[in-house]
């Protein structure tokens, strides 16, 4: 397959890959925004003392983590119409990605909040702040800092996961490669190109993570033991 590797065909398909890339980027962005929303709500529920909110949030997070995205996607895609809800594929896809990533985001936020030293909470309590004030003024701004890098890690996962949406007829990046593979029978060209584009996105996000780390003044990791 490699000896006849045809760069010309790749160039010919480049506009298609371009469109796919654009779709992947904006649907990932939307899904990530959704995941943040879902994650914030879930982690807020998860941090409650009472079981009423905590238990459903935990159950949801576990169920999402323990099952493949594919199953979740089909669950929504085939399941919603049975309830009479027919949504466009893109919407279902973004919903599935948001609901899936949201569970992971919730865990990241929770870990971030719990990483804030006890003394910070006590300082807030001692100066007469209410729970909401403490959260808003003391804990969340600090937790925000420590959650940025893992959140960007989750964004990387989400971008790669979005490839699964090609299954429900969303024309994103992976699909462009599949098209090249099936129209021209050039799988190597198709998939290597996809890989290159995903790698590009990966390095973009990684660079962003490094930059944000520097902006936020996080310590660079020690390099050797």
């Amino acid at each position: 397959m490699l000896e006849n590797f045809s760069f010309r065909t790749i160039v010919e398909y480049l506009p298609l890959f371009g469109q796919g890339l654009v779709t992947t980027v904006w649907l990932s962005l939307l899904s990530f925004a959704g995941a943040l929303a879902v994650g914030i709500v879930l982690s807020a529920m998860n941090l409650q003392r009472g079981w009423l909110f905590r238990v459903p949030a935990k159950a949801y997070i576990d169920a999402v983590r323990a099952t493949p995205l594919l199953a979740q996607l089909y669950f929504l895609y085939f399941g919603l119409p049975r309830l009479g809800i027919i949504l466009p594929e893109l919407v279902v896809g973004i919903l599935a990605l948001s609901l899936n990533s949201g569970a992971y985001v919730a865990e990241i936020i929770r870990a971030g909040i719990l990483s804030i030293p006890r003394g910070q909470v006590e300082a807030g309590v001692a100066s007469g702040m209410t729970y909401v004030q403490r959260m808003r003024l003391v804990i969340l701004p600090q937790a925000f800092k420590v959650t940025i890098p893992p959140l960007l890690g989750q964004a990387i996962v989400l971008v790669k996961d979005s490839a699964l949406l090609s299954l429900i007829a969303v024309a994103e990046l992976t699909r462009a490669g599949q098209l090249l593979a099936s129209d021209r029978f050039m799988p190597a060209e198709g998939f290597v190109t996809i890989a290159a584009f995903y790698l590009l996105l990966y390095y973009g996000l990684k660079g962003l993570a490094a930059l944000s780390g520097r902006w936020l003044g996080l310590q660079p990791a020690r390099s050797s033991i």
């Binding site: 299954l167 129209d183 050039m186």
Partner: protein
């Protein structure tokens, strides 16, 4: 030494299949691999006097398997387009079929013409020839490409995620049997007439020649027709699988 020598020496014919669904290639209730194409391949191995090994790939893996030499030939309900033939060698066609349009029985889309309306949601299979044809036949429609086989197209149309589906007529007929009779309307007119063929590599000329001869033979002695009558032109297979 040619591929045929190799196969004989190996004592094994390696066939890549894609399990697209009835009637060409499916997995029966007990997990057995069967279908029209599958039985033809088995017949080939029998005539060669070797045993057969099926390599089961999804669409993504099918072509690489052939091109990388993991499989000797590829047996699927595949249309030999000219673009594809730039890469792999197709046998002569062993049957003709074509894409057709189907809708849910009580749909407001009653004919192929109805489906040409702007914004109609049309389900096709990713990479299948039906995808191309739908694009030309329904330029104003909203074409949705699905992966994972014909039955999912039926499911999408049945659920209302698409208004119509376009797929190989034999596949639609075969696969709609999983639904209560009369669930779907299959339009009588065809979007295209297409051959189906097996594929192998261009560096396997001996095997290609042999396969063409095989197809001639089985159509002359009626075994091909028997296979097609059982699998494609009737529901007889449902009784056994």
């Amino acid at each position: 030494a040619g591929t045929l020598d190799e196969i004989t020496k190996r004592g094994e014919l390696r066939v890549a299949v894609q399990t697209q669904g009835p009637p060409f290639s499916l997995v029966g209730a007990a997990g057995e691999r069967t279908g029209s194409s599958v039985e033809l391949a088995e017949l080939m191995a029998k005539e060669m006097g070797v045993k057969i090994t099926f390599l089961d790939f999804d669409w993504d893996g099918l072509i690489p398997a052939l091109l990388s030499g993991k499989a000797d030939l590829l047996v699927a309900d595949m249309t030999p387009t000219l673009a594809r033939a730039m890469k792999v060698a197709f046998t002569k066609p062993y049957m003709y079929t074509g894409s057709t349009v189907f809708t849910k029985a009580d749909s407001k889309f009653k004919s192929t013409e109805d489906c040409k309306a702007k914004g109609t949601k049309i389900a096709v299979l990713l990479g299948a020839t039906g995808e191309k044809e739908a694009k030309t036949a329904f330029p104003d429609a909203d074409i949705k490409s699905y992966k994972g086989g014909g039955p999912l197209l039926l499911d999408a149309v049945n659920n209302g995620q698409a208004d119509c589906g376009v797929n190989d007529v034999s596949a639609v007929k075969g696969q709609s049997t999983a639904y209560p009779a009369g669930s779907f309307t299959i339009m009588p007119d065809m979007l295209s007439k297409e051959p189906l063929a097996f594929a192998t590599r261009y560096d396997e000329q001996d095997l290609l020649t042999w396969m063409n001869l095989f197809l001639d033979q089985v159509s002359l002695d009626g075994r091909l027709q028997k296979n097609l009558d059982y699998w494609v032109n009737s529901d007889d297979w449902k009784k056994d699988h």
